[in-house]
Symmetry: D2
Subunit: 341 residues, 4 copies
């Protein structure tokens, strides 16, 4: 049995675990005050080409989204997101739990369309009843999106410009950022993201860490007393070192990017395989997640030897499934999969 079910089926990249082992008995200060957190932050700022950034480590993606969004919005504001955005659909209402509405707008291939975003904001500010409505106070995008797609540099800049025009921050959810940056079809770099976004996070959980996400506030705009806010939301790790050591390792000698490239290589192999076998793609994805439409009988057969993810019902006879590669996918996995397909 092999698994392409998700990009979090394995533990951490071996180098990450080794470093945890190596530093295990050092006596370190709690709550992120240790030297590994410090070192990891410096390396991340360098990788983003953003020396003035402020970096914070959190444990998981939904936690990060809820914390960043709620601490940056004013109380009468909501966050604009694609209908298919993770915050809209798959976080069990974590944003609403903080008291803020997710203002869902139409999407194309999982992405917000700059023109539609502008139209939404223009219409809002022309509505004579807007004082009775939720003010749009932030734009949330995911990159790669929930469908594995990517914004190109021009789109990112357009969205950034629109946000600046309306003086609201742009926030990028980078749960799978490595797989976006290392895609063969992208023109977007980490530096571009740091320039275009007011805040974003670099996903660790799905890219080599046991857990952990690194939030980057790029413009001197981190909320005051952010550590207290993190504590208040139950998100402050006593042993902050666990996150510091992991990110320090991932951002040493380009490990984060190398393991992401490996996942992309495996994904390209996977795409080729699926195309060759005549599978119908649900959407064209240049990253580590691939979505195909499978006839239900065939799916039952497939599941006997490969773990895959149910995505959504396509029609009565077909289902959309997801196959994901990651840093942990091996050539052996690929070879077995080829046999099975």
């Amino acid at each position: 049995m092999i698994s392409f079910e998700s990009d979090y089926i394995a533990g951490a990249h071996p180098k990450v675990l080794e470093k945890l082992m190596e530093t295990n008995m050092e006596a370190l200060g709690g709550y992120g005050t240790d030297k590994y957190c410090e070192s990891a932050k410096e390396k991340i700022k360098a990788a983003c080409g953003c020396p003035g950034a402020e970096v914070h480590f959190l444990v998981g993606g939904t936690q990060t989204n809820a914390l960043v969004i709620s601490s940056m919005l004013k109380e009468y504001e909501g966050v604009i997101a694609a209908k298919t955005g993770h915050v809209s659909l798959h976080e069990a209402g974590a944003i609403e739990y903080t008291g803020h509405k997710v203002l869902e707008i139409a999407q194309e291939n999982g992405k917000i369309v700059p023109e539609l975003l502008k139209e939404y904001l223009d219409t809002f500010y022309m509505d004579e009843n807007r004082e009775h409505m939720v003010f749009p106070g932030m734009v949330y995008i995911s990159h790669p999106t929930e469908y594995g797609t990517l914004y190109n540099k021009k789109e990112l800049e357009q969205i950034s410009d629109i946000c600046q025009g309306y003086e609201i921050p742009l926030y990028l959810d980078g749960a799978r950022l490595g797989y976006g940056i290392m895609s063969r079809e992208t023109d977007v770099t980490m530096e571009d993201i740091a320039k275009c976004c007011d805040v974003f996070y670099i996903g660790g959980t799905k890219v080599g860490a046991l857990c952990g996400e690194a939030v980057v506030f790029t413009k001197g705009n981190a909320p005051k007393h952010f550590m207290t806010i993190v504590k208040q939301k139950g998100a402050l790790l006593a042993k902050g070192r666990v996150l510091g050591v992991q990110f320090d390792t991932l951002f040493t000698d380009g490990l984060y990017f190398d393991i992401s490239r490996h996942a992309i290589d495996m994904a390209e192999q996977l795409k080729g395989m699926l195309k060759e076998k005549g599978y119908q793609f649900y959407m064209e994805s240049p990253t580590n997640q691939q979505f195909v439409i499978v006839e239900n009988g065939k799916l039952s057969e497939l599941k006997k030897s490969v773990a895959v993810s149910f995505w959504e019902k396509y029609d009565d006879a077909h289902t959309v499934i997801r196959l994901a590669t990651s840093w942990s996918t091996t050539q052996e996995d690929m070879d077995i999969l080829k046999e099975v397909l």
Copy 2:
């Protein structure tokens, strides 16, 4: 200058004010423990044909929606509403402020379509990832809707059945309930509403009161310690009598229904007038709110002598406007309007 801007342009029905005057110096207990609240509750239960109901008085509509919805939902649940529902659009995020998502679904003429509601619920319960999603915990409908339209009895029963099938309560926002009940085109009575809904409210603010809404829990399902919950949300009036006296008057000798019928009569006259003058209706409404599409130049002209409501932009040259009648609309207002049109 005359006004058809809304159904809350005047104070209270004169009989209501007179009763407030008459009872003004009586020493009464606070927080809704007075005899007028008691009497009003009995009359409302009788009017609903629902002797087992529990009635509570609140001050305004958004407050009522937020209180009823948040106190009946479990923390992992959201409320299903039409995209055009008041709770979805025009309450400044009051529901999300309580921590719950408004699950917006498609609408037709401002109404939830029973088939689409069922499909939404069926799909949710078939989704393998539903534990990561907001559970649908209630259905919210408004009657009349925000567009003045009405559910017929069959639709109401279908929606009620679907809710029962999924064991979630049905909540009806009756901000303008009188105008719905007294519409010439409805087959829905107060008794029907009490039978079909788990909870609903009878609007006072827009139907003859200075302020006030009467919440009716129809099935022994009022949340425990509801008074404390009301207090906690800042919605408990020290002088509960203000609401008790008003509702007691409105439900004495059918005043609530008589003044609602008057508004409908005025609305029918208005419709006739608008049709005669060739106005294009945005939607067919059998209640007190009428929506027409007006050329912008003409609108500017009109606004010089009649106050109306901006509803939404129709196209670059046209605007949707609302004209509303109410218990306070006079024949004189109608005659002047006829001149103007």
Copy 3:
């Protein structure tokens, strides 16, 4: 049967009701945009000697406290209040519902002691673990307090200075402000309050109105989009006129102060009467609420002819009760009470 149970046993002052009657059929804009709200705001600013103030009308006291406190605090902050403060004890957790802790400190006669306040703040800022604690973000005082006592001008200025020193706003709950201002034993004026406080409210519910409180932001510090915040919390009245007309009347020709003085006159008479009859006072109060300790058997007897409030158990044989006068107390009430005592 007469009632000294509370200061909200009657409706509104007759002049207030008359004005509501008189303006009843005027067509006015909704949500506080009418001319009576405008006029009332101007009169209140004049009465406070604070032309630059911003005034907002809300419906009730708990609502006002929750709205003012939550919209002025940052998310990592709480509000300091006396243990006996209304927000600490008798608002069913309305402040905590908004996500903020009430930081309860010791009190004397219902009042915060300037020295203890300073010590609390000094200690907080010297605590090395303060990033794990709730930051004190505001000071809440009530004037008169829940025990009818008053701050003198010096105390008020000291507290104000301490707040300024720590750059946190001072908020005064004036649910019974008129009775404080018109006390025979105070040296504090409305102007003093406007000068010392960043925000305070002038109570209407207990001083002549059916309902309503006027919030005064004294230093250009009203939260942005406060109307939307009010709507979001379900506190925006469609017929804002109801509050505007009432406060406009109360602040015309000094009515608010005249009726407050009347209540004080009645209270002084009451105090004299109680002293004469040998009642033991629980606390010395210079305002409209009087607290006495009564033997339980005697209390049962008393309750047969006078409604009073249970305040707290004193010991197994005695109870603390409250007798309150108000604008509506008549000389006839006093005469009957004298007989009874």
Copy 4:
């Protein structure tokens, strides 16, 4: 430089890390559905002698407190805790953030006194104004407390009985539970705790894990859809295995108890050392945290060679400090400390 600063200065017990390493590349299901979580739950239920319990894994202590308390309270309820309780003081308002008040009561040596608890509840239910107050809906105790003290079995049973009498759950915060269970002076076992409490948690972060706490609902009382609630609060780990593997290791062959006993042995040695040297104890603690009062000059000296925790100011010349042992304290640390003292 040695450190007695806290019980979270080191990483994880080596056996825990080894197991993470060993299982690292296994493909496992996400969100706690893996076999290690399953196995850990079974072992924990066995260790508690409570086969009917339901066990959930969370990441940290504040998160656990906020989740357990908010998901078990009704909206009009608060949680009773000692003034010195972790939820009262050192969680940055995490409980209030969920909308619930912490009802702080007096304490002795960090513990709730059964008699005072009963009195608090009795008084509340006799107060005629209780509908305006926060209902006590749960009792929170920590064991060991924040001062290292322990409830004895009789006290625990008394508190449990009081809770049952008022039909409210008893919740025990076991952040350092191992150090309590293995204290030489306790008569309380894990089974006793499972019997007396409705819910409690077994701390991992401070007892051998990198992070992680195991919540035990002992009476079939886990909130419905708890996983969705956990997700909504941003507390659901994608790689649930990280917690499963750690707790599975800690509860294999009694490791949790063995390493706790080691910390107690070290603490007893520490106590002896401090007594011998004439240190004044702030409180008598039978667990791994020791509190002593140190003259400020001496403290400065001490800090040059030993890291300790500031606890609170004692007087102008003295400070209360904490020295903590843990599973990671070595005999070498002790020997160096002896030299230093």
